[in-house]
Amino acid sequence: MTETILRVKDLTTRIGTGEAAVDAVNDISFEVSRGETLALVGESGCGKSITALSVMRLLPAAVHIVQGDIVLKGQSLLQLPEARMREVRGSAISMIFQEPMTSLNPVMTIGRQISEALRLHQNAARDSLNKRVVELLDAVRIPEPQRRVSEYPHQLSGGMKQRVMIAIAMAATPELLIADEPTTALDVTIQASVLKLLRDLQRDIGMAMLFITHDLGVVAEMADRVAVMRGGEIVEQSARDEFFSKPRHPYSRDLFNSVPTLGKRGHRLAVVGDDTGPLDAVVSPLHSRESGDPELLLRVKNLKVYFPIQKGLFKRTVGYIKAVDGVSIDLPTGRTLALVGESGSGKTTVGKGILQLIRPTQGSVEFANEELTHLNSAELRKRRSGIQVVFQDPFSSMNPRMRVTDIIEEGMKAQGTERDAAKRKQRTMLLLEQVGLRPEHALRYPHEFSGGQRQRICIARALAVNPRLIICDEPTSALDVSVQAQILNLLQDLQQRMGLTYLFITHNISVVAYLAHEVAVMYQGRIVEHGNVERVLNNPEHEYTRSLLAAVPHVPELQSL
C-alpha cells in the first residue's frame, strides 16, 4: 500500500452566508496516494475548482469551508496558521491553472519567475540557482533552455507558457500537484505533449496529482482513478478501467452518451437535464425553395486574406501576414462542411472572408451563383440574409443592453423581411420556440441566460432572416459537453427540417465526426486535406492530419448500456 499524500474528508465549502448561502462543495471525501493521479471530472459549476482552491486554502473572500478536514501527509491543513500555510503552498503543494496567458507576469523574464519560485523554498547561491532554472526548463522539454531563460512571456507560444508554469510548479519538487484544466486553452497537439510531460514528471518525481478536467478523453489518458462531481457532490469514484468499462452512476453514463463520436452519427445525443424536447414548431421559410438534387450553394475559389504589416510614420507596408492563403471550398445545399484546424490556422478568417466581414485580398466567393467579392457595401447589404453566422463566445455575441426580442428582430428590420411589427413579434416567438426557449424569455436581457441558452438565442437570431447558409464558428467550444450535445442536436434537427447548409468551423474532432458530411483540414492558411468525413478520419492522407488525429485524446466507447 502506497503512502497517502492527500486525504479530504467530509469537506463542505459554502458560498455566502445566511439564507442566500449555497454549498459549492457538499460533503465530499477522497484520497490521493503517492504517484497516483486522481481525475476530478465534472461540468462547469460543479465545484471542482472550489475543491482545488479549498485544498490550497486560496478561496475567495465570500467562500469558506464550513465542515470537514484536509490532511496532507498527516498534517491537517485547516489547522495551520496562514504563515505556515504559505510554506506549504509551492513547496508541498503546487498548482497549475487553466490560462497560461494570464498566469505569468508579462514584465519579468521567465528565468526570473522560475528562480523566484526556487528562492522562496531554497537558499541557493545565484550560480546554482541559474543552473537549476535551466535544468527545470530542460525538464519541461523547452528547447534551447539557455536562451529561453532571458525571454519574456510574450515571446513564447501558449504551450511553452504552460510548460513554464509547470516548471514553476515543479521548482520545489512538490508532494502534490493540482492541475486545474491545464490543457483546456491549448490546441490538441500541444495538449498531447503537455499531458505526456506531466505523466513523465510524475513518474520521475513520484508526486501525487489531482487533475481537474471536463474532458473525458483527457481523463482516459491521465487518470489512475476517477471521481465524478455533480452539483458539489462526488457521485462516483472508481478506478480508471472500471469507470470506462462500467460507469455506475446514471450521470456518468449520460456524460459518456453526450460525447459526440463517429459511431453516434444520425442519432440524437443524450443530454443531461435537458428541459426541451424535440422540435415541435418549425418556422416555415419565407420563400419556398425548389427541392431536387443538391445544387452548389457556396463556391470559394483560391481565397486569400493578407493582413499588411505597416511600419513608420506613413504606415508603409513592409510585408504581409498570410492568414488565408488560397483556400477553395465547394459546398452543396443541405450539407455540412467542417473546417478543422488549430488556433492560428486561419479557419475563422475564412469564415469572415466568406461573410465579407473582412474583404478578401484575392479570390472569389460565389454564393448562390452570385459573386460576393465585387459587390459594393450597399449591394452586399441586400444579400446579407443569405449567409448568417453563429459565434463561439455566447457571452460576447449579444449586445448586453438589448432585450432578446430586439436582438432577434434586428436582422428582420435591417433586411426588411418582415415590415409589420406584430408579425415580427409573432415570428420572434416562433423562433424562440423553435430553438427550445419560452415566449417569456423574449423580454429578458442576455445576462439572465446560461451559456447554452445564449447560444440558442444566437441561433434564433441567425434564423430570423431565413438564411440558406450558416457559418458556425466554434459554436460549442465554450460549452459543457452535455450542453454541447443539446446545441448539436438542435443544429441537426434544424438542418433536417429546413434544409440548412452549415460551414462548421471547429478544432474539436469528435464534433466533426458526429456532425459533418465533409471535412477540410486547415494548416497555416491552406487546406491540406479535404474529403468525406469517414475517409479522412479513418484514412488520413496528409501527414498533418495524421498527427492531429493521433493527438486527440480518445474516449473509450461504452460497449453496452
Partner: protein, 473 residues
C-alpha cells in the same frame, strides 16, 4: 415681457434660456422614459437605490435654488409721476426670497453669529475717542446686552426654526403618504407602517430622513439669518450665506452647460475615430493631440480677453452689468467645453475600438445593419456609462476649474457670485490675524456637498444601467 399682476417685467438672460432648454429636454426625456417599459424599469433601480434616493433629495435642493435664481425680472420702481418705471437692475426670484439677508449689509467683516464688527473703529463716546468693536447694524441688533443674551437667543431661534422646519417636513411627509396610498390603492396605515419599517421597495424612509435633515437645516438657517449673519459677512459687509446661495447657480451653469458643449464633440468624434479607424481616426487623433498640447489656460485667457475687448467696444448692447457678466459666464462655458472634450473623446475612441470587434457588432454587420444604426444601437448604449461617469466627474472638476480660473482673473466676472470668486477673495484674508475663515469655509461646504452627492448619484445611475450588476442586486 410684463407680468401685469406682479408688476414686474421678465428679463431672460442667455444662460437662463439654455438652462430652461436643458430642463425641457430633461422633462421630455423623463416622460419618454416613463412611457418606455424597459427604460422605466432601469431608472426605477436608481429610485430603489438608497444612495441614489438620498443624493436626489440633496441635489434637488441645489436644483431648486439654481432654478429660482434663473428666473430674472426687472422690479418696478416707484416714480413720482404715476408712470410705471422698471429698474434697469435685473433681480431673480431667489433675490426676492433672500431680500432680508441681501439688504442686511454691514460695514465690513463680521464673524458668524457675531454682534460686533471684526475690525476696530475709532468712535467718540462722551467726548473721548476710543477704539472699540462697534455693534453691527443688522446682526444681533435686537439684543440689548449681546454678551449675556446671545446664546439663549440663538437657542430659542434655532428651536423656532427647527419647529417650523418640522412642520413643513410633516406636511411634505403626509402629502407623500397620501400620494403613495392613492397610487398603490392601500390604506394609509399600511403605507405608514411599511415606511416606518423601511420595507418599501423605494427607500422612502431614507429619503424622508434626508428630507427632514435638509428641511430642518433650511428652517434653522432661515430663522437665524433674519437676526444674525449665519456665515458672517465679507469685506464689503455682504452676507456670506447669501453669496453662497447665489453661487449655486454659477456652479450648476458651469457644470451642466460646459458638458452640453463638450458632449457632442467627444461622443461624435470619439466614436467615429474608434469605429471607422483609418484616415478618419488619424485626423481626429491629430486634432485632439494638437488641441491637448496647447495649454488650456492660454486658450481660455485669450478668448476671455477677446470677449472683454468686444464688450468694451460694443458697450451699448448691454443694458446692465448682469447681462455683461452673464455673457462672460456663457463664453467661459463654451471655451471650457471646447478645451475639455479631448479626455472623454480618447476614452470613447479606445472603448469603441474594443467594441467594434465584439461578436455582436460583427453579427449586426452580417445582418446588413448600417453604420449609423450600429453606432446608435450597439455602440452608444454600451459606452453611455463612460459618458455618464465622465460627465459627473467633470462636473466636479469644472466647478473646481472655475475657482482656479477666477484666481488668475480669467474666470467668471468679478461681479458674479461664485464659489471661485469667494475663495479667491478669501485667499488674501487667510494670512490676516485673526484669520477670516468663513468665506472659504462656506464656499468649501457648499461645493463639497454638491460634488459629493453628484458623485453618489452618478454611482447609483451607473449601477442601475449596468446589466451585469442587476443580477446581483
Amino acid at each position: 415681457m410684463i407680468v401685469p399682476l406682479l408688476d414686474i417685467k421678465l428679463g431672460l438672460l442667455l444662460t437662463d434660456a439654455l438652462i430652461f432648454l436643458l430642463l425641457i429636454f430633461t422633462v421630455a426625456f423623463a416622460i419618454y422614459v416613463s412611457r418606455t417599459p424597459h427604460l422605466r424599469s432601469q431608472w426605477a433601480h436608481v429610485l430603489h437605490n438608497r444612495a441614489g434616493m438620498i443624493s436626489m433629495v440633496v441635489l434637488s435642493f441645489y436644483l431648486v435654488m439654481g432654478l429660482l435664481d434663473s428666473i430674472h425680472f426687472y422690479p418696478k420702481v416707484e416714480s413720482g409721476e404715476g408712470k410705471v418705471v422698471y429698474s434697469v437692475q435685473l433681480d431673480s426670484v431667489l433675490d426676492k426670497i433672500l431680500a432680508p439677508i441681501r439688504i442686511a449689509v454691514e460695514k465690513t467683516y463680521s464673524a458668524p453669529f457675531a454682534t460686533n464688527l471684526y475690525a476696530k473703529e475709532t468712535v467718540t463716546v462722551d467726548g473721548v475717542e476710543t477704539r472699540i468693536y462697534p455693534r453691527l447694524k443688522h446682526g444681533g441688533s435686537h439684543l440689548d446686552d449681546p454678551e449675556n443674551e446671545k446664546s439663549a437667543d440663538i437657542l430659542s431661534h434655532t428651536l423656532q426654526g427647527a419647529f417650523k422646519g418640522t412642520l413643513v417636513w410633516l406636511l411634505l411627509a403626509v402629502l407623500l403618504v397620501i400620494i403613495l396610498a392613492y397610487r398603490n390603492k392601500v390604506s394609509l396605515s399600511q403605507i405608514i407602517s411599511s415606511l416606518m419599517r423601511g420595507k418599501s421597495v423605494t427607500p422612502w424612509r431614507s429619503a424622508l430622513f434626508t428630507l427632514a435633515l435638509v428641511v430642518l437645516l433650511i428652517g434653522v438657517c432661515a430663522e437665524l439669518s433674519v437676526y444674525y449673519h449665519v456665515f458672517g459677512t465679507d469685506k464689503v459687509g455682504e452676507d456670506v450665506l447669501y453669496q453662497s446661495l447665489k453661487s449655486i447657480r454659477t456652479g450648476l451653469v458651469i457644470g451642466t452647460l460646459t458638458t452640453l458643449v463638450m458632449l457632442p464633440f467627444a461622443i461624435l468624434l470619439g466614436i467615429m475615430a474608434g469605429y471607422f479607424r483609418g484616415w478618419i481616426d488619424d485626423l481626429i487623433q491629430y486634432l485632439y493631440t494638437t488641441l491637448n498640447s496647447i495649454p488650456s489656460v492660454l486658450l481660455i485667457a485669450a478668448s476671455i480677453l477677446m470677449l472683454q475687448v468686444y464688450m468694451t467696444n460694443n458697450a451699448d448692447q448691454f443694458n446692465n452689468l448682469t447681462q455683461r457678466a452673464d455673457l462672460r459666464l456663457l463664453f467661459l462655458c463654451l471655451i471650457l467645453g471646447v478645451t475639455s472634450w479631448t479626455g472623454l473623446c480618447r476614452l470613447l475612441r479606445g472603448e469603441t475600438f474594443k467594441l467594434r470587434e465584439a461578436d455582436y457588432i460583427q453579427a449586426a454587420t452580417a445582418f446588413g445593419v448600417g453604420h449609423f444604426t450600429i453606432i446608435l444601437r450597439h455602440i452608444l448604449p454600451n459606452v453611455m456609462h463612460i459618458v455618464l461617469i465622465t460627465v459627473v466627474l467633470d462636473f466636479s472638476g469644472l466647478v473646481l476649474a472655475e475657482a482656479v480660473l477666477s484666481y488668475i482673473e480669467i474666470g467668471v466676472d468679478p461681479t458674479t457670485n461664485s464659489w471661485g470668486n469667494m475663495i479667491n477673495s478669501a485667499r488674501l484674508e487667510m494670512a490676516r490675524e485673526p484669520i477670516v475663515w468663513w468665506s472659504l469655509a462656506a464656499a468649501f461646504l457648499f461645493m463639497f456637498v454638491l460634488v459629493l452627492f453628484a458623485n453618489l448619484f452618478s454611482d447609483a445611475v451607473r449601477d442601475a444601467f449596468d446589466p451585469r450588476l442587476q443580477g446581483s442586486q
